[in-house]
């Protein structure tokens, strides 16, 4: 089995053609479209991004079998990784989740009052869960990760507790899918319903990739640092 992977020497446009979902990553790296024939390396350099990190994240996104090697991990700029993760968080909250909430309101407004009320409340609860999840990472995990690099990590915390606290924020999203697919009454608004479902499926997929980036890049990286400090 040949394992195809992206490299920094490839044309950035080719990466997008291989997996169009990589488009979603560009704004989080501050990359614009219109990059012509430029390679990943050139584009990254122009924008002050590590091409190793960018390629690695694209590989995690596109290839489920990909696991970064030790050598690659050593080259990762932790600060840039954290910045990417933070930007992803605000993108999910302010962009994707916002859009879905808006679509849900449009749908629920057509239904009975009780329906509107219960659906809106359900989504608010989901949003709160996501916010809490992201806040935990940004207030506890990321500072720890940034500190461990400078040898100043708080004692008593380890990335293992992160793995334990990594709550499941997909459950409610999945529930919402089933509610809309199977149980929402009314024959109207078919296209609105399919639109929102596409957005939910796609958000879910993206959040899964986001978790994979944390599992495959962030955690191994920090575990390595922890081992280094224990010595």
């Amino acid at each position: 089995m040949d394992t195809f992977l992206f490299t920094p020497q490839m044309k950035l446009a080719d990466l997008i053609h291989t997996d169009y979902k990589l488009l979603l990553l560009l704004p989080r790296f501050g990359l614009n479209l219109g990059f012509g024939e430029k390679s990943v390396q050139e584009c990254c350099k122009q924008n002050g991004i590590s091409d190793t990190l960018f390629t690695m994240i694209c590989n995690v996104y596109a290839f489920s079998y990909y696991l970064p090697g030790e050598k690659e991990l050593n080259q990762v700029d932790i600060k840039q990784l954290i910045l990417y993760l933070q930007r992803s968080h605000s993108y999910y909250l302010n962009n994707r989740i916002q859009i879905i909430q808006h679509q849900l309101t449009t749908i629920s407004e057509k239904g009975a009052v009780k329906q509107r009320h219960i659906l809106d409340r359900f989504f608010e609860e989901y949003k709160k869960e996501v916010v809490k999840h992201f806040e935990y990472e940004e207030n506890t995990v990321f500072p720890y990760v940034l500190n461990i690099e400078q040898d100043a990590a708080k004692a008593g915390y380890s990335i293992e507790s992160f793995e334990e606290n990594h709550t499941n924020i997909e459950e409610k999203l999945n529930d919402l899918k089933n509610i809309i697919i199977k149980y929402l009454p009314g024959t109207e608004l078919l296209s609105e319903k399919t639109d929102i479902l596409f957005n939910i499926f796609s958000l879910e997929e993206d959040l899964n990739k986001h978790a994979l980036i944390e599992d495959k890049i962030l955690i191994p990286l920090v575990q390595k640092q922890e081992r280094h400090h224990d010595k």
């Binding site: 079998y65 359900f122 089933n178 509610i179 149980y183 599992d215």
Partner: protein
């Protein structure tokens, strides 16, 4: 139904062994390897979503710290059979979790026979229809769950054991595809099992 295919997922860190086993199974139409992974730690979700009939795992990938991983996998894919793939001595305590064991020194025929024997038991359970509506009892339990009651309270209210409550809840979530309490509340209200004033 003829031409039945058993979907197999292989979790094996050695590329040589993984490729070898794939090659060996290639000529058997009944088996289709739908995924090969080097470890199971980060793929567990992915694996269950592929709905394999058979999982062939090298027990070495599940170290002591992550042995729960196997149980998680096993629990979420109940119709899936587990086969251990071993190179050397593995404690019987570990192998107890598997339906059978393939030793890499086994002959080709023996390996196929072992997989077939497991495959036969796997399909029986996977073909049970899952589409049933909620029973009246399940609807009653669901209403209690949606009202925010905990298992112990539900058990007392309906004069059943906590274990039975858990079984009902599992079945409700399996049939509806809804797991969270707030999701079930939405379900109950949409289906007029519950009035919104009761959950305010």
């Amino acid at each position: 139904m003829t031409n039945k295919k058993y979907k197999i997922i292989l979790i094996e860190p050695s590329a040589i062994i993984a490729t070898g086993l794939q090659e060996l199974l290639k000529s058997y139409k009944d088996f289709e390897i739908i995924g090969v992974f080097a470890d199971c730690e980060h793929y567990s979700e992915h694996i269950t979503r592929l709905h394999p009939n058979i999982l062939i795992i090298n027990p070495a990938v599940i170290d002591f710290r992550h042995r729960h991983c196997l149980e998680d996998l096993f629990d979420s894919s109940e119709s899936c059979s587990l086969i251990a793939l071993v190179y050397q001595y593995v404690e019987p305590e570990v192998l107890k979790h598997y339906h059978t064991t393939i030793d890499i020194r086994d002959s080709k025929d023996k390996i196929i026979k072992k997989i077939e024997s497991v495959a036969n038991t796997a399909t029986v359970s996977s073909e049970q229809p899952d589409a049933a509506e909620l029973s009246e009892r399940e609807k009653e339990i669901l209403v209690s769950v949606a009202k925010g009651k905990i298992n112990k309270e539900i058990a007392e209210e309906h004069h059943i054991s906590i274990h039975t409550v858990i079984t009902h809840r599992k079945n409700i979530s399996r049939k509806t595809g809804i797991k969270s309490v707030s999701g079930l509340t939405v379900y109950a209200i949409l289906n007029n099992l519950l009035d919104i004033s009761e959950v305010e």
